[in-house]
């Protein structure tokens, strides 16, 4: 058996970077990108710009955590952009038009988001509608409802304390919204890594039948994950509302692809069961740093689209090349 042992142990060393679960390539990509930008522009490497980037990735960051959960169980959620808009409009309407205090409007908006996630979860588990279709439908429905709330109008102007959440830098560093995002990322990371509920997601995504036979309630886990993802999308909507000091039913259009991209760039596999929050954070940062950097480099918007596409492929392809060599 000794030859076998050598062979099987070879795999061990690679797990040192295990927390990144397949995102080492993207991490290298992110580092190279940062080094390049630090050299190419004098504004990139500054505390102020770093804080700017954090501000700019808040919404994407919050949504990507939920999407990571969904993709880990082998699902997909195309409705996050619309649920974000729905949550915003509910909050805006309750707060500014129905005149409820924000402290009530916000939880209610999150509740509505949760319900949209619940509907998706039930469609997926009970009616066996593919997640792609269930969430595509929810994307359309939630957007429609968001529009109907104010007949398509935006709502502008929230209480000062609310908008200051996205502006005031506490201790001169982090805004409340950035802090919120970081807290969510850390909690999600701990949850996935150390809680048995978190490990269940990997089991369900790895093979739902195996998970079922091991006594895991796959349906419940699935529903829970879609609810969580929707609530985080709703929360991202609240964050965005604070940031824009306005809500608008067209918000978040197309965010679903950005979010999925961040997760997948971060090494989480679309077939489920592999990946994690560490990688997602890298994916989000790659997107954030890239957009920020291209602006600092004063690259024209059209050329930016081209470069973004190329860098995304390189970041993900690098992981393959790295593995091939290893």
């Amino acid at each position: 058996m000794s030859a076998l042992d050598v062979n099987e142990q070879g795999r061990q060393s690679r797990n040192l970077l295990g927390w990144l679960s397949g995102a080492t390539g993207p991490l290298i990509g992110l580092l190279m990108l940062s080094v390049f930008l630090s050299v190419a522009t004098d504004r990139f490497l500054s505390v102020r710009n770093a804080l700017n980037i954090l501000d700019q990735i808040t919404v994407l960051g919050v949504m990507s955590v939920g999407m990571t959960f969904v993709i880990l169980i082998g699902g997909i959620d195309l409705s996050v952009g619309s649920v974000l808009a729905l949550s915003m409009m509910i909050m805006g309407w309750l707060g500014n038009i129905a005149g409820l205090p924000m402290a009530v409007a916000i939880p209610l908006a999150l509740l509505v988001s949760a319900v949209s996630g619940l509907i998706v979860g039930v469609l997926v588990t009970r009616l066996r509608v593919p997640a792609f279709i269930a969430t595509l439908a929810m994307m359309s429905v939630a957007r429609g409802v968001a529009n109907m709330i104010t007949d398509g109008q935006q709502i502008v102007g929230f209480p000062d304390w609310f908008t200051m959440l996205a502006i005031d830098r506490h201790f001169g560093v982090l805004t409340a919204t950035v802090f919120l995002m970081l807290a969510i990322v850390v909690l999600a990371w701990l949850f996935l890594k150390y809680r048995s509920e978190g490990r269940m997601l990997y089991a369900v995504g790895g093979n739902p039948e195996v998970a079922r036979l091991a006594g895991i309630n796959v349906g419940l886990v699935t529903i829970g994950v879609y609810v969580l993802c929707a609530v985080l999308a709703g929360l991202a909507g609240i964050v965005l509302a604070a940031r824009l000091d306005a809500v608008q039913p067209s918000s978040g259009f197309g965010y679903e692809l950005d979010t999925i991209a961040a997760v997948v760039i971060g090494g989480t596999s679309l077939s489920g069961g592999a990946g994690g929050i560490g990688g997602t954070l890298i994916g989000v940062l790659i997107i954030g740093v890239l957009r920020n950097g291209l602006n600092l480099l004063n690259v024209s918007p059209f050329l930016q689209q081209v470069i973004i596409g190329v860098v995304i492929v390189l970041a993900v392809g690098a992981e393959t090349l790295r593995r091939k060599k290893a």
Partner: protein, 492 residues
Amino acid sequence: MTDPVLSLRGISKRYGPLEVLKNVSLDVYPGEVVALLGENGAGKSTLSGIIAGSRTPSEGTMTWQGQPYAPASPREAIDKGVVLIHQELQLLPELTIAENVFIGRWPMKNGVVDRAEMIKRAQEQLSRLNLHVPATRKVAGLSTANQQLIEIAKALALDAKLLILDEPTAALGGAETEALFEQVRKLRSEGVGIIYISHRMEEIKQITDRVVVLRDGERVQEFADSATPVRTIVESMVGRPLDRLFPALPVPRQQPVLEVDGLTAADGTFRDVTFEVRAGEILGIAGLVGAGRTELVRAIAGADPVRSGTVRLNGEGLTLRSPADAIAKGIVMVPEDRKLQGLVVSHRIGENLVYANLDRFGGRWITPSMKRDLARKAISTFGIKGRGEQLASDLSGGNQQKIVIAKWLMRDPKVVVLDEPTRGIDVGARAGIYDIIVGLAKKGVAVIVVSSDLEEVLGVSNRILVLAQGKQAGILDREQANDVSVMELATI
């Protein structure tokens, strides 16, 4: 005698109009090993699933330790101490061995998974089975045999009062099987009730106390003494007298068809292998699990890259970059895992036959009648129980395996490689497959059979090549080959 730990009364199971189990009753007592035997499709796994809570019976009742028992989910059964080792591997390749062993019941400390404890306990379970692999390693990439051992470790880690093993040794070699039996005996002595399912008849005598036979979903017979002659048990299973398992081998012709010289795998799994197979000859390949047998034959079939060495067919040197290259030259392979490599199980039988012969349709329209003809020919030639428009997944294992063989034989290959051709296949169906193998040899095809079943290699091979840790330990002629001489070479 004590009370049974589990009693089944009048259990039936229907899928639509199909009655898979009919009025089955069974008692299992603590500290005994009951063999549950039957042909492919007899209903053994279905019955196991019902006991373990993953399927619900259509009729009948169960009693667990004297209490009514009707588990609604696997969880409920596990919590009561009913543990099933499934016939199909139930592992998560992307997770570590330790996590797989404790899946769904990870040891906890302070509300979080206690990794150190989990790894420690998993490692203990592995060493009970003589598996010396770090528990922190991912399951992906482990050999089938090792995965099967992990599957067993998973069950051992549970505090079972009733353990069902559904063909646990199908993918195991002799040494692994012995390690497993040791654990089974230990559990038996601790008073655990055990149901043991297998198609390997020689195991029955070794490990079981009592034999229950299922046929077409019905309990047909019970042998209280496991020393009952195998022939008697087999005839009870198949419902007719069975003359012999292995047909007589033809005499190989003189000219070598396949010549392999100094072949070494790109990743070094096997090194410097040299042999030839003549027309009408069956070459067996034996070795311990992990010896590199599968890799060797995959390389010959163009599926895996080689570092050095040559393969010649009828004297012509071949460069095999892909399975397509090998197939075009007339070398075909029936792979080790029919579900993952042999068949698109979710597709129809007719389609699966077409997939292996697409190049022959090249440039032409494939009409439904062509597909039908192909299916009809395969089904009649190989005595397959099934119809062209059935999904491959609906067939029993033996019939699936015949489809995998049939899809290649439609092309008149020159070399046929079969890797574990009867894994998980009942005795009756096995005899049918051996007939096919020998029939090929009679037609002058060069045949290679890889098998972990020693009886099988000995039974169908003109010569046996033994691999040990990737190296060629020797080639034995039929006259010299027996369990002892093969194992001696395999364990060098």
